[in-house]
Structure formats: structure tokens, C-alpha cells
């Protein structure tokens, strides 16, 4: 099947594209909607909002998640907030400015038309969430409050304490449960999608494993929506939930959905450092701390004195030194790279030497302990719980950690992948954040996709395509289920001596060392040699205890790691192919004399969409040229 990479961006001025497109799209008559079955995989912000909205419209929706309840999806852990171009602060915000900031923040590697639509819809999201009863922070007069976030000079971030993701997800979850009660949506918790079923080239169903009974189940529908999140846990340690995984997206990729820009990963600068080999995940400390904390390391290599014994003139406040105008508030990618450089230089702190200080002493002296407590009390408490150190007295130790995946399955303007009928929403797709995501924009994208984009575009797909009725008795379902069963049987039959976790940890180390914050040709080639060996090691030496016919968390984990061992190769290859630095992707070969990321617009102004050709075989690269009619491309500078 020849792949055509048509982004299907509507014609007309950027501000009118979405409205024109909405009118041009075909509709499904209300009485006919119930005749269509739509499969939604995932119940995070994108999945829950899509399932609820499609249920409200009258479609017959089947909604799957791996957790015991849809409310547990990892969107729940987002802390900071959600951006929207409401301009409630009268500070000059607009749809155009949010669009502009997002394209620039993404280092000019996103699709303009998608980003503009996202900025347009941002205002509707806030209205919808307020109507659901989301308890956003308010000012004394009763109106909605905003705060500022990185990459913007206006105050446009709406928030609910440090739990914005939780409150937005519960809003979507409650709407979803209302549809479940009305029997518009059928919910399938503790189910993991293991294959997508194609009939006549179109996505017509999925094969899942019932995680409680181990049964392989098949579900047929007229379209499939994946909202299965990002692939951060490929790195083993990340800020993602421990069950987050790439499996659903990867299996779709193996069935023909192109995977775009996998090397665009976001490493968050302020996380609590690794404390030992037992560590299972890393905890984020909100980036807002950099408003008052000063980042420093000792000037001298190997200085192991406790921080209070290092005199002021032997400290290097390197962000303030190198970026006098932005100081400690440089963007995430810049802050992360500089922390790594300081540690690589032998000036890291803490037991491992893989940390830098985030010091609040000056801020406490300036505004007092009480003000700091009011602003950051919950974060300081969380830090103390994990590290057993009091950050009011001792500087915090922080280090960057894998956080978010900008890359994902390639989708067109309608959020449809290269497999007709297979739509991809939220973090699982690639479209809106380019090479770097701005803070408070992930929640915005998930909800825009689910509440306001897919309800329109899926109707157009259903109305425009003949979809003959079929059941799970079709041969394609049997073939997919047999494949899934075979893989499970193989995993259980290896009976080696290595634990799944130990191999995952090794993979994580390879990716972190050579495909992490800073990448170069030699390192990427080294990773490309090591990953297939690890994969081989896994399939020969892994131990997957237990049986397939009941709840078996080892088996679930093994399947996910097996997919990561394939995916990691693509991630690395994409990083090798892109011989430019942009956003979170830093190629050492491409930097300015001041060691900043240097884009190569002449050669790399495209989305790299990869076609699967077999495990261990070179994938085929398809390019979607990125055209910038609105935003002028410039070199980012934070000096």
C-alpha cells in the first residue's frame, strides 16, 4: 500500500480554516449516529472527553482503559495548569498570540493550522470545564484567576491549585460516567489494547487482553480512536506513571500508521534526583519554583562540602551567569541541558553527583519563610517526604528527567492517522507542540482534541466512507487475535534468568545516555548497536513468571517492555536522521558558538513520519514539509 502523506489542511486564511472546514465536513444524521460504533482506547483527558462527547452526540461508544477506573489515567498527575486565550487579564492576549507563542515555543516544527485551531478552541475548553463544576482558582471578586507560565509574556494559565490535571480529568470522567449511565458508552476497565484490526485497509476493531481474566477479546466498530498517551517510560525512569506505555500506538504503527518525530522528547529540568537503583519513577517539582529558587553548583570540580560550607564566591549560579536577561527562568530545554553540562563537568552535587542545587535562601531572606510556604508549601512538603531533607534549610537538589513526548503517531488535520478510520488524540499524536511543548499546553491539547475536534471530524469520516457491517467473526479478527496470543505464549515460554525490570533499566540507561538531553552521531550509532542486542537478550533470557489466564502484572509489563525494545530503535534512528538541533532535540553537531540549539530550516523543516518495515529492518522515511505562512522563523535567544 503506497502511503500518501496529505495533511488535509483546509484552504483560506488561517483564522478561517477551521470554520470553513466545519461547514465543508459531512454530517451524520442524529438518528443514524446510534448505528455507528466507535472504539475509544484510553480515558485520559483526550480519551474521556472524546468518549463522553461522542456519547452525547448519540454514537454507540466502547471505551477501554488499562487502569481499574477511567479516573486514574495519567492526565490526573498534571500540576500547573491549562492555557487559554481568554485575555481575562486585559494584558494583550489573543488567539493569535497563543498560536504564535506555541509555534515559537515548539521551535518551528509544528503544523501551523493545527496550532491555530488549538488556540481558537482553548477558550471553549475553559467554558466547558467551568460548566462541569471544575473548581478553578478564583479572585476575590469571584472571577477566574490566572497565573504565568514559561514561554509567554501574558498571564493565561487557568489552574486548580497544584492539581489542575486531576480536576480537569475528573470533569471529563464525570461526563463520561453520565454517558455510561445513559448506556451511550460502554466502559471496559482493566483492558489493554494489543492490536488494531484492519478490514479493507480501514481500522474496524481492536483486540485486547482482559487484564483480570487473561482472556483475549475482540471488539468491532466503524472507527477507532487512540488516546493512549506518550512514550516517556521508554527511558525507564520518567515522571510518567509506571504503567504508561507505547504499546497501543506501537501496534498501530506496525499495522501501517506512520510514527512522526519520535526524537522530540521533553526532559523536564526540575525533578527530584535518582536516589538509588531501586528507583521506579521520578517526581516532578513544578517549574514555578524557578521563580524564587536560584540554581547553582560549586565552582570547583569535586567539591563535596555541604552547601552551607561553600562560600558565596565559590558558587556558580550558572543560569544567571550565562543568561542574564532570563536567568533562572530560561525554557525547559535550556535549563535541562545546562544542568547536565555542570554535572558532566564534575561539579554536580549530592551523593551521586547527578544533581544541582535549587536554593531558596535568598528568597526566604527577601520575603520570609511564610510567603515561601504559602506559594510552594505543598511542593516543599512533597520534597521533604521523598528526600527526608528540609528545603527551607538545605537547598533542594534537582536534576532533569524524561517528562513528555511531543512525537507520536502522524495525524492529518482531522486527527486521522495514515490508517483510514484510525484517529489519534492527545499526547499519542504528534501534531501541535513541534519540538518542544510549553508548560500548561498538554491539558489544552488533550481536551481540544476530545471535546471539540474529533466530534466533528469523525462524523465526516463516517459519512464519507462506506463501512459495510461486520462482526468479530471476520477473518481479520482471528488473524489479529492469533498474533496477540502467539506473542503472549512466546513471552511466557522464554523462561530465562533476567528480570523484565533489569532489561527495561538497561534500555533506559542506553536511551538516557545516548538519546537523552544531548545527542551526537557517535552516541546515537552506539545506541543503535546496543538496542537490537538488548532486544535479543530479552527474547532469549527474560523471565516472565505466572500464567496467562489471570491477572498477571509481569506479563503485562513484559509486553510493554518488548514493544519499547522495538520502539527505542525508531526513536534513536529519528534522532540520528535529524542532524539539527531544535527544541528538546539537541544535536551537539548543530549549535551556535554559545552552545545553543541551532536549527537547520533549509534541510529539516519537515515532520519525519516513519513507515514500519519489520522489526530490525530500516523503516522508510516520509516527509511532511512544514510551511510557515504566518510565523516568521527566528533563532531563539534567552541571553
Amino acid at each position: 500500500m503506497a502511503i500518501t502523506l496529505d495533511p488535509k489542511v483546509p484552504s483560506g486564511p488561517i483564522a478561517e480554516k477551521w470554520d470553513r472546514h466545519k461547514f465543508a465536513m459531512k454530517l451524520v444524521n442524529p438518528a443514524n449516529k446510534r448505528k455507528y460504533t466507535i472504539i475509544v482506547v484510553g480515558t485520559g483527558l483526550a480519551g474521556a472527553s472524546a468518549a463522553a462527547s461522542l456519547g452525547e452526540l448519540g454514537y454507540n461508544v466502547l471505551n477501554f482503559c488499562i487502569q481499574d477506573s477511567p479516573r486514574r489515567a495519567h492526565s490526573i498527575a498534571a500540576q500547573g495548569g491549562i492555557n487559554a486565550a481568554k485575555n481575562y487579564q486585559n494584558d494583550g492576549d489573543s488567539v493569535y498570540r497563543l498560536f504564535y507563542d506555541t509555534v515559537k515555543g515548539g521551535d518551528y516544527r509544528s503544523r501551523e493550522a493545527n496550532v491555530y485551531r488549538l488556540a481558537q478552541l482553548s477558550v471553549n475548553i475553559i467554558d466547558q470545564c467551568v460548566a462541569q463544576g471544575v473548581p478553578f482558582a478564583r479572585e476575590y471578586g469571584g472571577l477566574l484567576d490566572n497565573r504565568s507560565f514559561g514561554g509567554a509574556q501574558v498571564s493565561r494559565t487557568f489552574y486548580a491549585r497544584g492539581q489542575t490535571g486531576q480536576q480537569l480529568l475528573l470533569g471529563a470522567y464525570q461526563s463520561l460516567m453520565r454517558q455510561v449511565q445513559q448506556k451511550a458508552v460502554r466502559l471496559f476497565p482493566r483492558r489493554e489494547m494489543l492490536d488494531v484490526v484492519l478490514v479493507d485497509g480501514k481500522a474496524r476493531g481492536i483486540v485486547i487482553r482482559n487484564l483480570m481474566t487473561g482472556a483475549i477479546e475482540k471488539y468491532a466498530g466503524d472507527a477507532v480512536i487512540l488516546a493512549t498517551g506518550g512514550y516517556g517510560t521508554a527511558y525507564y525512569l520518567s515522571t510518567n506513571a509506571v504503567n504508561s506505555n507505547v504499546t497501543a500506538a506501537w501496534r498501530a504503527h506496525k499495522r501501517g500508521a506512520l510514527f512522526a518525530n519520535p526524537c522530540f522528547t521533553q526532559i523536564h529540568p526540575t525533578c527530584i534526583p535518582v536516589s538509588g537503583p531501586h528507583q521506579s519513577k521520578l517526581t516532578l517539582m513544578s517549574e514555578s519554583l524557578r521563580n524564587d529558587g536560584r540554581v547553582w553548583v560549586p565552582k570547583n570540580k569535586g567539591d563535596r562540602r555541604p552547601p552551607d560550607q561553600i562560600p558565596e564566591d565559590e558558587r556558580d549560579y550558572y543560569l544567571e551567569r550565562k543568561y542574564p536577561s532570563f536567568g533562572n527562568l530560561v525554557p525547559r530545554d535550556v535549563a535541562s541541558r545546562n544542568a547536565k553540562q555542570a554535572c558532566d563537568d564534575g561539579r554536580g552535587v549530592g551523593e551521586s553527583g547527578l544533581a544541582v542545587y535549587l536554593d531558596f535562601k535568598d528568597a526566604i531572606g527577601r520575603i520570609g519563610v511564610d510567603s515561601i510556604k504559602e506559594k510552594y508549601g505543598n511542593l516543599f512538603q512533597m520534597y521533604q517526604k521523598i528526600t527526608d531533607e528540609d528545603p527551607y534549610k538545605v537547598p533542594m537538589r534537582i536534576y532533569p528527567a524524561m517528562h513528555y513526548a511531543m512525537g507520536g503517531l502522524w495525524v492529518d488535520y482531522n486527527l486521522m492517522s495514515t490508517i483510514p478510520g484510525l484517529h489519534v488524540l492527545g499526547e499519542a499524536n504528534f501534531s501541535d507542540h513541534g519540538a518542544n511543548r510549553l508548560g500548561a499546553s498538554a491539558l489544552m491539547q488533550g481536551l481540544a482534541d476530545g471535546y471539540f475536534v474529533i466530534p466533528y471530524t469523525i462524523g465526516d469520516y463516517l459519512a464519507a466512507n462506506p463501512l459495510p457491517k461486520l462482526t468479530i467473526e471476520h477473518d481479520a479478527f482471528k488473524e489479529a487475535a492469533d498474533n496477540v496470543q502467539k506473542r503472549i505464549d512466546t513471552l511466557l515460554s522464554v523462561k530465562g534468568a533476567k528480570t523484565i525490570r533489569s532489561i527495561h533499566r538497561e534500555l533506559g540507561a542506553v536511551l538516557w545516555d545516548d538519546v537523552g538531553m544531548s545527542r551526537n552521531e557517535a552516541g546515537l550509532r552506539r545506541a543503535l548497536e546496543r538496542i537490537p542486542k538488548l532486544r535479543d537478550d530479552f527474547w532469549h533470557n527474560v523471565s516472565v513468571p505466572g500464567t496467562p489466564d489471570n491477572l498477571n502484572q509481569s506479563l503485562e509489563y513484559a509486553g510493554r517492555v518488548a514493544d519499547y525494545l522495538e520502539f527505542a530503535e525508531l526513536l534513536t534512528l529519528d534522532a540520528l536522521n535529524r542532524r539539527e538541533s531544535c527544541g528538546g532535540h539537541f544535536r551537539e553537531e548543530s549549535q551556535t558558538p554559545e552552545n545553543e540549539a541551532l536549527r537547520d530550516d533549509a534541510n529539516y523543516s519537515y515532520a519525519a513520519a516513519w513507515e514500519f518495515k519489520g522489526v530490525g529492518k530500516a523503516p522508510e522515511l516520509h516527509k511532511e514539509p512544514l510551511v510557515f505562512d504566518e510565523v516568521h522563523l527566528t533563532q531563539r535567544s534567552y541571553k
Binding site: R72, A77, G133, P135, L143, M382, P545
Partner: protein, 249 residues
Amino acid sequence: MRLNLKIWRQAGPAATGHLEDYTADNVSPDMSFLEMLDVVNEGLARLGKDAIAFDSDCREGICGMCSLVVNGVPHGPDRGTTVCQLHMRRFKDGDTITIEPWRALAFPIVKDLVVDRGAFDRIIAAGGFVSVNCGGAPDGNTLPISKEIAEQAMDSAACIGCGACVAACKNASAHLFMSAKISHLALLPQGQVERHHRVMAMIDQADVEGFGSCSNEGECEAVCPKEIPISNIARMTREYVRALLVAGK
């Protein structure tokens, strides 16, 4: 540290369970409780033995998935802490720790330490929402809400739905869980329209699921990782009486 563990093992929903003894060696005080169990499970895997099944996901205290009773206390000894945030420095070398699942009729055991909390989802489905379809919402600033009310609603909305309140209650009552959602929505103007129906429907559903009633002991509040107070239950009771009297439901 070296720890003696007594862990509930149960092969499946219908099987008979029992406490089994394990030893955890080389436990670092910096490990979280769940990381300690990860290490025990890695040891079992090396022996080709079935891992101890337990739920967890975000491991930072917000998803509500983790659910262990540690030495008789849901989420363990620390106040306002989920078991994923509990650290081993809280224990001493040589300690014996008993680890059990949530125990309640409405939360049947799936395997080992994993329970089925679908009953909570069904209670929310019965009425724990505002019935607004996507698309027609008025501007977010149309209805001013006082900061004080918004903060109170947020205090209640902070519930993570973990079910520790049920596990701690001798009646296995879901009152704290329900009352948090009922309070959150009853406090806000958006929740007014369905206020009476909501409280009746949710309480009816809890009865169907087999949760007990409340006898005001306050154990739920003591173990709640988000420290949601039982004043929410008082508010729910008022909402219930009000629905009976005013709406004649």
C-alpha cells in the same frame, strides 16, 4: 534493613487467601514502600515465582490506584500520605510488616492485594456529575463564585477515589467518598440544578453496591491521604434531608 513481611496472597476472586511470609533484604531507607515491594517481586521473578500483585500507577499520590493496608492501617502509618509516598525510613531493621488488601464486600479481591473498585465508578455514574453536554457552555466568567466557596469546593474535590475510607471503616461505608463529590458540586452554582437528585441517586447506588452506613467514628478521615474532613458527611446528610423535605424525593 532487613524486614519480615506477611503478605496476603490470593490466587483469584473465588480462591481462599492466606498470609505468606517473605523477607526483604537490603532495604534502603530511601525506597518508597512500593519500590520495596518491586524489589521483593524481582527476587521472586528470579526464582520463576508468580509476582505479588498490587495496584499502583502515578506513584506520586494523585491517581488513587495504590491500595495497601499496612499493619492494619490503609496507606500505612503516615497521615495524609498514600502508600506510594510512604518511605522505608519510617520502618526499622527487623520490623515485621503485614500487608493486606482493602477489605470490603463492595471491593471484591481480584488477586493478592488488588481489588475491584468499580462500585465507586457506578456511584459517580448514578449522579456525581453536572449534566452539561459539550458545546453550549456560557462564558467561564458569567457566574462569579466567591474565592471562599471555590476553595471549599476544591477541598472536597481533592478526593482521589482510592477507597481508603471504606477500607478503614468497620461498616465499609462509602460516605466520605460520596460526600466529597456531593459537597464539591453542592457548593458550586453549577451543581444546584441536580442537587436533590444527585444525593438521592448516589446514596441509593451505594446501598445497591453493599457499602454500609456511617456511625460517625471518623476512621475514614484519619486515613484519608488527602485529609478530607468528615464535615463533608454532615453536609451530605443535610443535602439528603433537604432532598427528602424540599423536593419530596
